[in-house]
């Protein structure tokens, strides 16, 4: 089984995000980057599948040379090889990312694509769905559990009302959510092995792809500071405020 796992390099979600003074982007000085946490669940699931049933897991990351470090971290979690698609520092939206991932998909023809449901910096929750649509293959997002059977996947998905079970034919796109599994720690021997694994560097042109942004970032701003809350003396007062002041009831 060949599994494709796109991963994204994101700033450490535990570090407070600061904007550059000109608002053109986030301050990256002194910020450490890591694998998007949701992508780790995807890597773990893919590696477990191949550990059980054979096959290989290849990672794909889109960005600049700094992404190689992120890919090595992913390889240390058990993936077998990786692609680094160099886009030379350009900012790409979900649609352009899906364009590039589709290009890699067409070269590799994997049986399954697993990726994090969203990345913790942009939180769009779109690329996986767009990729499936572009390729015309089934999708199952927010996966809580994935079971592979002959040529299909039975995916339990977390939805607001509970768990939905979906059966999709392979190849397909699955996006991983928090409770899919418990990602492993990269053991030291695995880190040493990762050094020798292949990281293939390509450009969109090599893939025959011209990624196109369908959106444009106009500006970035920090959210307004939180205003102080109000203390109320009774439930009646609370309801009164909610109806008459906040006007939400």
């Amino acid at each position: 089984m060949k599994i494709m796992v796109p991963i994204r390099r994101v700033p450490n979600p535990d570090v407070k995000v600061r904007l550059k003074k000109d608002g053109s982007g986030i301050e990256t000085e002194g910020v450490n980057f890591l694998i998007n946490p949701f992508d780790e669940y995807a890597i773990e699931e893919a590696v477990r599948i191949t550990e059980k049933g054979g096959g290989e897991v290849f990672l794909v990351s889109i960005g600049g040379p700094e992404n190689e470090e992120t890919l090595r971290a992913g390889l240390a979690l058990g993936a077998h090889r990786a692609y680094l698609v160099d886009v030379g520092g350009e900012w790409l939206d979900s649609a352009a990312i899906a364009d590039i991932l589709a290009g890699v998909y067409k070269q590799e023809n994997p049986d399954l694509v697993i990726m994090g449901k969203q990345s913790v910096d942009t939180d769009n929750n779109q690329a996986g769905q767009m990729l499936a649509a572009k390729l015309g293959i089934p999708q199952a997002c927010f996966a809580y559990k994935v079971e592979l059977q002959d040529g299909k996947a039975v995916v339990q998905r977390e939805i607001d009302g509970g768990l939905e079970v979906k059966e999709i034919g392979l190849p397909a796109v699955v996006t991983a959510d928090l409770r899919l599994n418990q990602p492993r720690y990269a053991s030291l021997p695995a880190i040493m092995k990762a050094k020798k694994k292949e990281v293939r560097k390509v450009t969109p042109a090599d893939l025959g792809v011209e990624p196109k942004n369908r959106t444009r970032v106009l500006s970035l701003a920090e959210p307004p500071p939180r205003k102080a809350g109000q203390k109320v003396a009774s439930v009646d007062e609370l309801v009164d405020k909610l109806v008459n002041e906040a006007k939400v009831l």
Binding site: E68, R72, A76, Y185, S187, L188, P189, I191, M192
Partner: protein, 380 residues
Amino acid sequence: MNFELDDVQTLVRDTARRFAQEEIAPLAAEMDKTATFRMELVRKMGELGFMGVAIPERYGGGGMDYRCYALVIEEISAACAATGVIVSAHSSLCCDPILKFGTEEQKQKYLPPLASGQMLGCLALTEPQAGSDAGSVRTTAVLDGDEWVLNGTKIFITNGGPAGVAVVVASTDRSKKHRGLSAFIVPADAPGYKVAKEEHKLGIRASSTAELVFEDCRIPKENLLGAPGDGFKIAMATLDGGRIGIAAQAVGIARAALEHAVQYAQERSQFGQPIANFQAIQWKLADMATEVDAARLLTWRAAWKKDQGVRFSREAAMAKLFASDVAMKATREAIQVFGGYGYIDEYPVERFYRDAKITEIYEGTSEVQRIVIARSLLRD
């Protein structure tokens, strides 16, 4: 010269930090209070390769450099200094002498179970009458046919309680004084090997500090480590590596103190503002940060020198001397930043303060480190 970590070292540090913060830190306060260690942590660390970082891959180790080892010890120690010394004593004081002075048979037999964490190791050198004066060790070893017979008492042995194997330094020829010492690999299940007592300590309470008694303890002739008379040389070479581990432990303790102080200073308000706004607090934090960085760099320099395969005794002594001093200062100032809250055990800084003290004592007191450094200066 590059001060940055390379890809492998970065991954090692990140893995160790993550594991330490997620799996060890939540247990640290309780392990300290009850003075008990969770042995399943050794198993988990073994699975990740932390118990044999710098042991070559052919013996089941990680095959990494000593800087990676120092990074692992620092990260573990920042979460729990006791766990840090458990790994450090096991690696530097037991695995390393077997690796450096053992025969191929001894290495094949003992290193794989040690490197995987299946078995903990210790170094049994110190005795009631032989601390800094390690050369005056009185435990004896006499060859009787195909066996060595050991008699004597060792105290303050880190990992002594749970260790499956000990590297023991004993006298094979009293007349030659320290040149008559030899080293032995002694399995804990050898007849006559007894764990007599566990010490109750000020700090690093989750680690075992035990008294080992050898009463006609018999081990096969093959268990001699190195040649007869090599014992003192082996002990000194072993302690050189151990000092890098303790320096890394001290850096971890100091860094934990700094990080907690920085966070607290931003949260605690007095006189209408966070105390982090006050210069007095800022200067404390600045001093702590500078000293932690300096201690870490000295530690890395010593590790680098060891990896070069050249003499590194002076550099290791400097790193341990300085880092232990920094750990004392940083933990003292961290309690000061916390004020009254720093003194109560709901906050971890009082534990860091208690843990720091031992780094000035074991594996060569700060006084002994100064002797090593001065001798090196005056000889060279």
